[in-house]
Amino acid sequence: MQPKETTRDGPLRPPETVMRLSRLGAFHQSRLSFMRVLLRRLKAEAWRFDRPVFDIDARGVGRAVYCAHGPRRSYSLVAFAHDLPPEERSDRVIATAWDATFALFDGVPGTDDLDRLARNVPLQEAGRVSERELSLSRANRSVRLWDHVVDSLAVGHQPDADRVDAVGYLMRTTAVYGSGKFGAADREAVADRPECRPPFQVEMLSVWLTRAFVMDLAEHMARMRAPATAVPLDPALRRRFGIGNSTGLGMAPFLMTHPALIHNWIAARETALARMRALPRAGAESVAAFHGILARARRHAADWRSDHPVQVKKLVALRADLDRLAAYLEAEGLTGDHPWDRLWRWAEGALSFEGQEQLVSLMLEPHGALVDDLADTMAADEARGWRIDGAMTVGTLRGIIEDVYAWALGVDWAAPEAQARVWYVSEEKLEPRLGEREAEGLEPYEQPLCPGRDAARLHADLAAFSDSDTTAAVLLRHPEHRHLVRRAQIAAGCPYSEIRDNTIAAGVLPIDLLRAKLSFFGACHFDPRSDRWVRINMFQHAPFPHELADGAADDWTYPPPGDGAA
């Protein structure tokens, strides 16, 4: 297959290669992930952090405020800690109570704000926040680790490192709602601020501050229980705690409902890969750094645990891939002409998707100066390009469909397995769900999350029009195609906007969609709990706010060198 797009950075992988579910489901975090973009900025701009409120009693009930002060503005995580009986602890979105609830406040909240938030934030979806709030979220304890850590610290011991590594976090968040949900400020209200311009910076800041709060809370609980004997966590061990997250189908449609944005994410990463492949030589420093990061990635892969059969197989492949990569480096080195391109072409034939996509991330690691600027290209003004160009001729529209959706025109959509699933929204929680078309009577509720099938339907109806007819004329007669026409016109200029796979097939794995999105967040240790629900770890090994000024901001996503944690 010939690459369709060539930039001054070199040829990009074609969307037919990249935008397959199985490959999206093998993506790894990279320098362009939003957590890393955030911490690099906080460090570069010398943000300051403080904790003006920490008022939590011996039962673990109360409130706390964590502020981040930047050169232009401040943001504050407002945290409420609760005493939750075990029978109410559920990480499903249908839960109604949590161990802790949070809002990210735009500025520094006053007492009135805190009282208002205290009446609403603990209720989550059943409450109401305002345009002063930028996100709303909650977290539950990992019971198996929380009790061990607090018990140990209270009697003056450090917790067992193996038990810490087996879980990796003390609390996991479920939904982190941003962008206007439940009354919060719209993304557009802050999108022009430099610190909010890259995607999901508000949500990532909220999660990073949540991690700091959770660790403080565990130490505080130990101290409240046994003031005479309690000790704080050893700083090195403390860093090995990330913040967990449990994500289900609520997040899955995002990749399909934000086509222009997703194009920009993927295009940034593909451009970064192309820049590496275009490098004529590998400098000694980059080669040494690459060897170092590969060693750490092997430890990361060894630490990565999952019981899910699909992920277990992928992990076996990933570990073998990294062994093969090390052997290649040993034998071939990174010498001669265009060594990164040679490495990449070898990898495409030698490694599984897990290994290939891990390699993309690893190749970027030593080359921050060449790729980090791409983070600025990852936001999208989705309103631009949203209007349908009705003057487009049917000939042109047909050409776009036959290019972007070529794979879908070859599918037999009458076959039951081709349309086995239905995306719908449940009455109970107003969240996206996936059901069986035949069994559950869900078709009347189907959401437009099956572009391939809809493109095939549009293509069939276009047969009745001539090439010189206009798209406007088609849409007057066929309003049912309006959604797909918009997508197709966006995809014409944004080739990575469309997934080139069947999202309603019998064999579709929603965890592939989740993994792609979460990898751009910067998540690690994907641990699917079913085909549609995944646990991850975020900010593991990252510096805490109080450590950022004196340490590295962006050298934490693989376990530190010399750490015997594996």
């Binding site: 499903r92 003057a391 996936l434 049912e480 959604h483």
Partner: protein, 217 residues
């Protein structure tokens, strides 16, 4: 209580879908209502009113029978979302032609955002007029309207045409960052939106989300 514009758009989109519009037109309803609410105009009320009166009517009765100089609907009343979307789709043609006249059109306020989009895309300032309302979409948006013109359930002889200058006495319309959905409109739109949600079954409760039932680990 104010709403985020995301909330206004999402509710309007779901309500339009629940009332029977295609997903693509429902998306247009969402954008249109958001635009109006951000401008402080009664878009959610207009949408609630129009959906209540048009739900279940087939597209063929609501769309323009012909998109020549005068647009009228076979069923008597044009749908402002269908007609508005067509105006936006035909932006270049509209600019070249100079203008069109619309026959009886329901809740015409809902068309304004589409004309705004057509003016931007066609590169020509456009004006819209019906009894009690004049709007102009040039470098900026300006409006002169009576209460009756703003809340018109129907208007006819609506002129959408190129015009260089805004009407005398018009005020600038500036988008704000929040929207207001009055309780009655919210209730109507919620009821329509509700039709897009699948009732839960025991299978869907267990299988649909795919998560476990406990988080005590």
């Amino acid at each position: 209580m104010s709403h985020s514009l995301y909330e206004v758009e999402a509710l309007a989109r779901r309500a339009a879908r629940g009332a029977g519009l295609s997903w693509g037109l429902a998306e247009e309803a969402g954008r249109s209502t958001r635009w109006l609410a951000a401008a402080g105009l009664p878009g959610p009320e207009a949408l609630a009113d129009w959906l209540s009166r048009s739900e279940g009517l087939p597209h063929d009765l609501l769309c323009p029978a012909d998109v020549g100089a005068t647009w009228t609907a076979r069923g008597g009343t044009l749908c402002p979302l269908i007609a508005g979307a067509a105006l936006s789709d035909m932006a270049a043609e509209l600019a070249a032609r100079g203008g069109v006249t619309l026959g009886p059109t329901g809740a015409p306020l809902l068309m304004l955002p589409f004309v705004a989009a057509a003016a931007r895309a066609g590169g020509a300032a456009l004006a819209v007029e019906w009894a009690g309302l004049s709007a102009h979409f040039g470098e900026r948006v300006s409006l002169r309207a009576t209460d009756a013109g703003l809340h018109a359930a129907q208007a006819t002889g609506i002129r959408v045409a190129r015009r260089v200058h805004p009407p005398g006495g018009a005020c600038a319309v500036r988008p704000g960052s929040r929207g207001h959905i009055p309780p009655r409109a919210a209730e109507t739109l919620d009821a329509f939106a509700h039709r897009t949600y699948a009732p839960a079954t025991p299978e869907s409760r267990l299988g649909g989300a795919g998560a476990g039932l406990t988080d005590n680990d």
